[in-house]
Symmetry: C2
Subunit: 133 residues, 2 copies
Amino acid sequence: MISHGARKRKGSIAERDLIHKFWEADWAAARVAGSGSAQYPQPDILAGNNIRKVVIEAKVTADKAKYFLKQEIEDLKEFAVLFGAEPWVAIKFNKHDWLFINPEDLKETDKGYSINTETAERRGLGFDELLRD
Amino acid sequence: MISHGARKRKGSIAERDLIHKFWEADWAAARVAGSGSAQYPQPDILAGNNIRKVVIEAKVTADKAKYFLKQEIEDLKEFAVLFGAEPWVAIKFNKHDWLFINPEDLKETDKGYSINTETAERRGLGFDELLRD
């Protein structure tokens, strides 16, 4: 079992990798401070250029499916609406590149939402596709 | 002399106060993680609504004037241009409310830029004025 601290570090490293990709593509991007513990809805990453703005909930998982609490996705959408940006869920499954999922493409479950690797591959966008969207 | 840690905490508390104000005004706002140490230009705060986006370098000072390194202001402007947002310098002088300064209104010095309380009061905008801008 992986510790909370190690998981958090792994998440941070993955988020930084995503930040790199945006800057390499001439988008400005920033990680949000305390996104998991703030009193207001906060995404993990904000990125944008002159034309588009995206707010991202970013997750790394070693499992075949990723689960989200209802609140996480509601917060992402609320921030996006207020800020005037597109909400995206970014997931990095083992041995896959980042996939960007429209929150509407997540499957609703009892406690929230989920998506598995296959659906994410089919419905999600790769990084370059996201920027061309 | 105030310690680096105490100054940093004071700065964080002040930034959170600013974040509150934006949410109360129905803008979405977020603090940027590691804004002082990142490899890319990073502002302290991003805020926006459906119409406008602002990126902010926020400073608290007990002095009568505030100094900025050239790089800080260049970074703020670079992020703003790429992200597609307005760059603002927010300063909280002792016993004053937050004042929002257009970076072009800072005075150029040998090492960077500066602004004193009087000029900030004259040229700067209060929070409500910033939102009406």
